[in-house]
Structures are given as structure tokens and as C-alpha cells.
Point group: none
């Protein structure tokens, strides 16, 4: 009992794809004017229909190029929902946030951390060195290192914010697992940061952290 034309149209197009197999995955649909004329609806209504299909992962719209049946369509039948809800931010934005937040975190950590916390951070730093030396994946250990610094700020919000940023980064990045040459930078950067933390030098820790993040951004060829 669909009354809306846009819903009916979405259904019609889906039928063309699944049942009639008129458009196979990867193929291009007719342009909006042709399709709307064929379905005898206005372009406005057709566009709403296509939005529905796009939201359900059926088609992919490429501005200036056309609308295509998604290559991976048919596999993800149950998916559909709430890809929107997930934070779908640009990696660049996320690193920019790190660049804003983490140097300040290092600053407050240098000032407020307890001796035990500093000691803990040192141990994590050494652990990363070992793992790099063993050729292991350093991602998790490095994350622990940064998390420990965030915690040492004694700012609850900060402590909870950084993991969110890291996870968002994880979701969007799987490239960049290649460029490992920056590993030397990492170890050196960490040493400098730790040194400033131990000396309780807030400004120094801030600057060192800034450089560290900038190095990471370079590694991803940003900035």
C-alpha cells in the first residue's frame, strides 16, 4: 500500500536491477531525465527515489558522472541501516583534532601527572620500542601510550574523547599500512615527549607532541 510515487519508483528501479537484471552491479543507470520520463514521474520525485536506494546501499551517485548500481550490491542485504550514525568523518579532520587536542593534553599531563603515571608512560614508551624492534604491529601499543598521557591530564572528558577519535580513525583508514619508514620518527618523537614529561615541562611536551602528530600526518601525506 505504498502511496508515495517516490517509494513506488524506488521499488520499480530495484525491480529493474534485481529481477529484470537490466542494470548489473557497476553499470550506470540512465540519466535522471530519461529515467524520470520512462517512469512517468518528475525529476524531483525520481531523485527522492534514488536517495532511498542510495541510503540502502543499492546505488552510488557520482556527481557529474552518473548513478551506478553498487559493485558490492547483493552481498550486503542486511546491512542498510545507520551507516550515517557512525561517525563518518574525514581522516584529515580527525588528525586536525588530534593536532588541536593532544599537544594540550601533553601540556596538562606534564603539569598534573603523578610520578606513578609518568613512570607508566615511560614503560609504555619502551614497550613500543621493543615491538617495533620485533617488527610487530605497533598500533595498539602506541594507542596505549597516548591514552595514558590523556589520562594523566586528570581531565575526564579528555580521557574519553581521545579513544573516540582513535576509533573513528580506525574505521576510515586501512591504507597507509604501508609507509613504515616513519617508524624511526616515532621512536625519536616519543623519547622527546617522555623527556619533557619527566622534566615536568608543559610547553616542551606540548611542542613535542605537536611535532609528533605532524609527523604522523606527513606519513599519511596530509597537510
Amino acid at each position: 500500500m505504498q502511496k508515495r510515487l517516490s517509494d513506488r519508483a524506488a521499488d520499480d528501479i530495484l525491480t529493474m536491477i534485481i529481477i529484470e537484471k537490466r542494470f548489473l552491479p557497476g553499470e550506470k543507470l540512465p540519466n535522471e531525465i530519461e529515467l524520470s520520463e520512462e517512469l512517468e514521474i518528475s525529476r524531483t520525485t525520481l531523485r527522492e527515489a534514488v536517495r532511498i536506494l542510495a541510503a540502502n546501499g543499492v546505488v552510488e551517485i557520482r556527481r557529474g558522472v552518473g548513478t551506478f548500481v553498487r559493485e558490492d550490491f547483493e552481498m550486503n542485504e542486511k546491512k542498510g541501516i545507520s551507516s550515517l550514525a557512525a561517525v563518518k568523518t574525514d581522516i584529515r579532520d580527525l588528525y586536525e583534532m588530534r593536532l588541536i587536542v593532544e599537544p594540550e593534553a601533553a601540556y596538562y599531563a606534564a603539569i598534573r601527572a603523578s610520578d606513578e603515571e609518568i613512570e607508566h608512560i615511560m614503560q609504555l614508551g619502551k614497550q613500543i620500542e621493543f615491538e617495533i624492534a620485533d617488527g610487530k604491529d605497533r598500533t595498539e601499543a602506541e594507542r596505549e601510550f597516548h591514552r595514558a598521557i590523556a589520562k594523566a591530564t586528570h581531565n575526564e572528558f579528555m580521557t574519553k574523547l581521545l579513544p573516540v577519535i582513535y576509533q573513528a580513525i580506525d574505521q576510515g583508514v586501512e591504507l597507509s599500512r604501508k609507509k613504515r619508514k616513519a617508524i624511526l620518527d616515532t621512536v625519536q618523537d616519543h623519547k622527546v615527549i617522555m623527556e619533557f614529561l619527566r622534566m615536568r615541562n608543559g610547553e616542551g611536551a606540548k611542542s613535542a607532541m605537536k611535532i609528533h602528530i605532524l609527523h604522523a600526518m606527513e606519513e599519511l601525506s596530509m597537510q
Copy 2:
């Protein structure tokens, strides 16, 4: 690199629902004309955005009646930014976060904002002046002001993060509506910030914002 307005709008509305909790499940959204004006998009574009949300099961459209947040829409998104909203953090921590993030936001806004965005910020600034002159509650207007600046950074994460901080602050504070001397500070601070924004002076905007937040913290007798 620019995203579609309809996608952005869908995201904005989702933010209103999940993060700002402005519309709870079962509640009605503003009608299409009002919402499109608020988001500063055409009705056509808004309707495409709503189609996306409907396809994702976020809202339900009832012709002739209105558009409603779906009763069974569960905003359990334990990974995303919204999880931070639940955190019950110390007010001091939250203002410290503002002090870290907002000056940088002002910096990037000064550099990246479009002329229209700058103009919009100016208007919001004036509106606050009027509301203060009329003795009205300036909270909401002021939030809009800061939100507009955050948006002008063109950093999506930033745009989503600040509302969370504001909301967390709201939950913990209802005092401090007395000290009126800070009102003059507010107007003056805003003027300075706006001036730097207009001149596209990033460093200036950053400093001015820092001072503004520090004033706000003084008002709450922190630091």
C-alpha cells in the same frame, strides 16, 4: 570534496536527534518549510535529506500530518561521539576542553570560512546583543554563535564535538545566571572575535576566543 547538501542536512538532523536530543522518539519534527529555512536549504533538498533518514529507519513520514522520529529508533551508538554526551564530567574539565578546542576553532574559522558564513556569524553576534539589551536569556543565541564558528572550521568532527560539550555543560550547570557584569564582557568579547574573523586573522581570533572562554570561567569562579 564538497559533500551533498542533502547528505549534510540528513546528518545535521540526525545530530539534532541523537546528540542534541532536541527531538525524542515519537516527537514531531518542524514542518518542511521551517526546517528547510533553519538549515538554510531549499525544501527540495530537505525532502531528499528526510528520504535518507526515512530509508535508514530514523524517521517516519505521515502525509498531511508531519514527520516523526521513529518510536523504535534506538540511539545506542556506543562508539560515536554521542557516547560522550552521557559522560558526567566535572564542569571544570568541560571548560578546560572548551579552552583547548574553541580558540583553535576560531583560528580555522578565520582562515576557512566563506564570506556567507562570516556574515552569518556577524548576524548571530548582533542578535545576542539585542537579546541581552532586551533582558532575554542569551544562552541559546550564544550557543548558536559558537556553533556557527565551529561549523565554519569545515571540520566535521569539530562541528559535532562542540554541541556535545555544551550539552554536557548544560546538564551540570544552572547556577550563575546572576552575575550580570559578565554580560558586558560577553558583548565586548564577541565584537573582538567577530572583528578578527572578518579580517581573516586566525591568530587574533584564537586569542580573542581564549580570552572569551577565560572570562566565562571567571564568571563561574573557576581557574
